[in-house]
Subunit: 462 residues, 2 copies
Amino acid sequence: MNELNKWQDYLAENRDRFIQELVEFVKIPSISALSEHTEDMNEAGRWFAKRLKQAGLNHVQVLPTGGHPVVYGDWIDDPKLPTVLIYGHFDVQPIDPIELWETPPFDPVIKNERMYGRGASDDKGNLMSPVAAIEALLETTGRLPVNVKFFAEGQEEIGSPQLPRFIAENKDLLACDVVLSADGLQMSVDQPTIDVGYRGMVAMEVHVQGPANDLHSGLYGGMVQNPIHALAHIVASLHDEEGRVTVPGFYEDVEELSVQERNQMAEIPFNEVDTKERLQVDALFGEPGYSSLERVWSRPTLEICGIGGGYQAQGFKGIVPAEAMIKLTCRLSARQDPEKITHAIQNHIDNHTLPGVKVSIKDRESGAEAYRMPVDHPVNLAAAKILTQLYGKEPLVARCGGSIPVCGLFLKELQAYTVGFSFSYEDEYLHSPNEFFRLDSMDKGQKGYVLLLQELAETLKK
Amino acid sequence: MNELNKWQDYLAENRDRFIQELVEFVKIPSISALSEHTEDMNEAGRWFAKRLKQAGLNHVQVLPTGGHPVVYGDWIDDPKLPTVLIYGHFDVQPIDPIELWETPPFDPVIKNERMYGRGASDDKGNLMSPVAAIEALLETTGRLPVNVKFFAEGQEEIGSPQLPRFIAENKDLLACDVVLSADGLQMSVDQPTIDVGYRGMVAMEVHVQGPANDLHSGLYGGMVQNPIHALAHIVASLHDEEGRVTVPGFYEDVEELSVQERNQMAEIPFNEVDTKERLQVDALFGEPGYSSLERVWSRPTLEICGIGGGYQAQGFKGIVPAEAMIKLTCRLSARQDPEKITHAIQNHIDNHTLPGVKVSIKDRESGAEAYRMPVDHPVNLAAAKILTQLYGKEPLVARCGGSIPVCGLFLKELQAYTVGFSFSYEDEYLHSPNEFFRLDSMDKGQKGYVLLLQELAETLKK
């Protein structure tokens, strides 16, 4: 009881410093998608490594991957103790549309116990909670209840392209009994969740080339194919009007939900009226035959997340543009193979290319498979116990429609499941302007990690 | 003969200065479409007015229109002499995609007797030729062979929105027997043309609003309508796969070409292989049942000249974007009513809007009707005579697929036809990066205007 109070007091006494540290961390514009931020990625890695050292972790190092770096650190007391790998990421999403930010994305502002800034919630805020938890335990008890390895990456937002190789080549370094992911969500501030699945992903940029230059639409309009028209023809061909993906073979390997799974999902509270109001849309929309949660948690999607071509500034420009492009991403459900889906989409695009333009795939991510884990995994049960303590309410079993590519890699290479233990919420504008993190989530996360590590000493006792 | 030599000598002696003046003129970034260039538009107007004064014109003034200004000046000797109104424009197209310019668009470079810069060919180069012609005649003969009014506008590239009202309210000021347009093309450096028609135009921006913010595609992908998908559905619905516009009523008022007109067009040399090579496309493409020249000169088109939405920078961003937009322009053929076509398109868009998004028309130009004039108009015949002298070859009768909205206004308000007398060529990258103007066209234009004004003293003798 005394010991318990000590780490709690330590967290309370150092709360302002922890907040200040998160401000510092968010200030580093570590956008992994943009090559002009490569040095910021390195800087974020160095910053986080330094913070791990300060917390008392050993063997801290920034490791090269061939792409953005990863950060490793550990505290290993006794090889007979169970080993927990804590995972998170220090890269963030791009910030545009910049004009919609009400505060500067990389100069965090705290208002009403919320920190506003890019990456505050996804994932820097969450990533810092286990660091503070470890520091508090080491400072107040001199040790951790289990062996801990810390592994933070700088590629999550771009699909972790170098991680398959890095993890395969560093199995010993990363070997563990279980992974705790400091990246992910709780359902709401009133309702914790245990996520037992993430969707996989595929991403590609499709480029349509028309004439070599923009042409005067008076002199050439009607005589040459307009690449925007050809691109729209492709995009429109990817879904039917009701929202089904029409790429042949797209749903082929998708596992239908069992009656039990559908019943489980139906129990999850989902307020359609509130959701429409919050998103400011007249209607929700998606694949027929599924509820909104079923669509997001279990069904694959194909989304155009960006489109561009021709003149986009003020007024008009009388041209037939030279080129146009889309950024296409899929979220995959269990058993879909990213490679196979990529080829199916490429074939479909080839079959829907109108004459007079050339279509090419300009950029491609390596893709990630969906991830599933057993509901009754002992670490899930341990996490559920701690979440019940933190929220005063038992967690619901849920899935997350997002993708954490590394979960599948940990399972494949380390034979370790990843249990989500993270405290963001979907209303925190992840990936959008005005992203924020609740400071209360920092408190919950710090406390939660202390309690969970203590719990796992029992759960995973060898 | 002596007098003839004098103006020719004057033009030759002052050639370097004329080039330098055009450099100065092109340096003013008078982009009418962009409001940040409003002051540059005024500056271009003032610059041109000063130049008209220097040339010896009287009553020179920059006149307000409610939008970008116009410039007027005249030289009126005897009310009984015929009056020629010379028309052109001093506004230019936007410069993006900026990265494709090989020289700075507003810092003109002269290479191989070509001046590179935005507006060098469309229309500042052409606009300066009659000014030099008038100066040469006034300096060497003390008079002009006809009364001349000069009318230059700053709104041509945005559809001349304030000119219908301005011209209607200034009929006396602009009253004339004929308009000569210093905006337009010759077919090639070897082949002059008399253009007897321009297409009309319509332009609008269509905006599709999805959720209020960009959403995380993992958390919401599959649950809400993606505005890019909805927009692509609209764009794809505007044409069939063969290139016909599918908006109901779009072709309703279009006058089919007569057998005679088709035969006339078939006589115009058009090399499909060369055109494909120059534009670097595998195939030309357009409405079935018409030749390329018929498509561009006589058929209406609907072109998306710009599209944008979501994330367009490097890499990927896992979002369902909040919004997307297109810039839609039509080129109209004779008898199509811009207002009616606008409504037909709006109706079509309403009928092709998928659920879950809101579609609105954000911006609309006033539109312009197509313009036609009789081939055997006496001023066409006079222009043909001078072109034959300049090129050593008789002009072909042609049309231009571009739009000069003011021609229809001059006809309606001043009862004066507009005869194209301009020396750009379609390979000069009008509206595209690396626009250029041949200095030889400056020489031809200056000489041509002197000769044509002299000729018109006879042609239009009252």
